[in-house]
């Protein structure tokens, strides 16, 4: 996708998005509701034309083609199964429209039913299936014509938590087995992190960062990305020196730590750094880089969250796993010190 812009009247829903999606990858568009994910997807499918810019598929411009002329299929958020057709007829619909012979359609439909674990359900009316089963029919229907790209718009949001988890694994498996490029839309960061090869984080019509789940989580380039994904501590710091891909920064306490920084940025002066709560440890006063008072302990079963009031202002959250059962060894209002692991801090672009 190149320089995509989309206006609805005077409202700009997508602003200059350029993205390269590789073949055979599981690519996710992640962002809060209303940021333009669906609009972007609809422009790939052909339901919406970009006001400016191009959609290229293997180098050919498809941005002005009708939906039925694009080798791209969609799994709709509400499934949009044809209620007057059976499961098999739904799955075979695309191939039938392409004018494929009946024998070929039948064999593909059979394979598809097997792929999505719905053997023997071919002759059922789709209206009699459960939500999860309808979801799998929608997937099979979109995969049957073997599109170059499969588009999925929040396909799991209507399912309950348990079913959602198993469908996540299922989707990943289908993507690996079929080798088809998946473009997946979600506002659920956990879903994005578990399933994707690469993620594009979006906000108000623009792409903020593209990268692997690890990049997005551990090396966020800016505040929006760091904040949107997981829990994070933001700290003010001064850059002391830069060498290679690391910089040394001085915290408000005077202690120095090393931090990474995003591409295309030369850190200098005052910067904001991020540290994930699980990348810090709590210790007795004087053992770490930040000193403070333990304000609150939140017990979460698998972990404890320690809210520390840092000397000089601000709260820092430390997350520690409960490896052993029993008390955590700290008590509220106690003075503590926070140690930050090596190479976990990341400097944000301003």
């Amino acid at each position: 996708m190149h320089g995509i812009k989309k206006w609805f009247g005077t409202f700009q829903a997508v602003d200059d998005v350029t993205l390269e999606i590789r073949s055979n990858e599981f690519f996710t568009l992640l962002g809060p509701s209303g940021c333009g994910k669906t609009t972007l997807l609809r422009m790939i499918a052909g339901f919406e034309l970009p006001t400016e810019g191009q959609v290229l598929l293997d180098g050919t411009d498809i941005s002005r083609l009708l939906p039925n002329q694009r080798p791209v299929n969609t799994v709709f958020q509400n499934y949009a199964l044809f209620p007057h057709l059976t499961v098999a007829e739904n799955i075979g619909f695309g191939l039938k429209m392409l004018g494929k012979p009946k024998s070929e359609i039948d064999s593909v439909v059979k394979d598809m039913l097997k792929l999505v674990h719905l053997e023997g359900r071919g002759n059922n009316p789709v209206t009699q299936l459960s939500g999860g089963q309808q979801q799998r029919v929608a997937l099979a229907r979109a995969l049957a014509p073997r599109p170059k790209v499969l588009l999925l718009d929040e396909p799991l949001s209507a399912l309950d938590l348990k079913l959602r988890k198993s469908m996540q694994m299922e989707l990943k498996r289908l993507q690996l087995e079929t080798g088809i490029t998946f473009v997946f839309v979600t506002h659920d960061q956990e879903e994005a992190l578990t399933m994707s090869d690469r993620i594009a984080v979006m906000s108000t019509g623009t792409v903020r960062q593209v990268g692997s789940p690890w990049d997005i989580y551990d090396r966020p380039a800016e505040r929006f990305v760091a904040d949107f994904i997981g829990e994070t501590n933001f700290l003010e710091a001064d850059v002391v020196s830069v060498s290679g891909d690391r910089a040394r920064v001085r915290l408000s306490s005077g202690a120095e730590i090393s931090a990474t920084y995003p591409d295309g940025v030369t850190p200098k002066g005052k910067v904001t750094i991020v540290v994930r709560p699980e990348h810090a440890r709590l210790g007795p006063p004087g053992s770490g880089v930040l000193e403070g008072v333990l304000d609150d302990i939140v017990y979460l079963g698998t972990d404890n969250h320690f809210h520390v009031k840092v000397d000089g202002g601000g709260t820092f959250i430390v997350r520690q796993q409960n490896a052993k059962s029993g008390p955590c060894g700290f008590s509220e209002q106690e003075r503590v010190s926070i140690a930050i692991n090596d190479d976990v801090a990341q400097i944000l672009r301003d």
Binding site: A45, G46, F47, L66, P67, N68, V72, N73, T74, F76, N78, A80, L81, F82, P83, H84, F93, G94, M97, L98, T127, R141, A142, P145
Partner: protein
Amino acid sequence: MAKTFSIKRQPGFATIAMFCFFLLYLPIATLVVYSFNSGSSIAIWEGFSLRWFQSAWNNQQVIEASVRSLQIAAVAAVIATACATLAAIATTRTAPYRGLTIKYSIINMPLLVPEIVTAVALLILFSRVKVWTGYSGLGYLIVAHAAFCIPFAYMPIRARLESMDLSLERAASDLYASSFQTFRYVTLPLLWPGILAGLMLAFVISLDDVVITEFVKSGGQDTLPTYMLGQLRRVVTPEMNAISTVFLVISLAIVTLFFFLSRTPQKDNE
């Protein structure tokens, strides 16, 4: 005591309601009862018999008028429904634009224009056409009926189209269906109940028409309603009641079917 207003608790509500039902259905009930009268009065009950049904059945004029009514209604309803279907698709499957409301109004206009005006207009138009072409068959009545049936056929079809999930048509085009294929394999099958409902409504409306038919028909082209009107001017026997009762039963049957077909399918989204 803060109770919300309920019409049901107002004094006299039940009485008024009962009175209205009474007024609506008493004449019809009387008509049906007397169609089984064995005497030849429509006011004095002399015992149960089917003789008037038999007499109507043996009345050549009644049979001819009925057949003509059914022919006209069948052909006119098909034409009206075809036009209404196209009109409904054109008005619902398009982005809203200025002038769309005017189009709705034009389609529904015949519902508002006094029937007598339409009748006179058609009379004048058709008398010209008759002179030009020399044709004086049932065609005029069929065209006239088709014309005023269009808005009735249009209503259920449009309702069905508007309640249809647009993403189904989108899904079809996503799955390589051309716009014709989308219509043929998705829209039309889902629209079918609406089309049938429109067809039946148009049929009943056409069957029932007096005013326009009276103006447009040539000699010897009586439909059942105009025939009955003619008879009523002379002598009234329970034969009229018998014919009306049969008419009523047929209409009720069709309207009941219409009701079941036009109900929105509730199982679709489960």
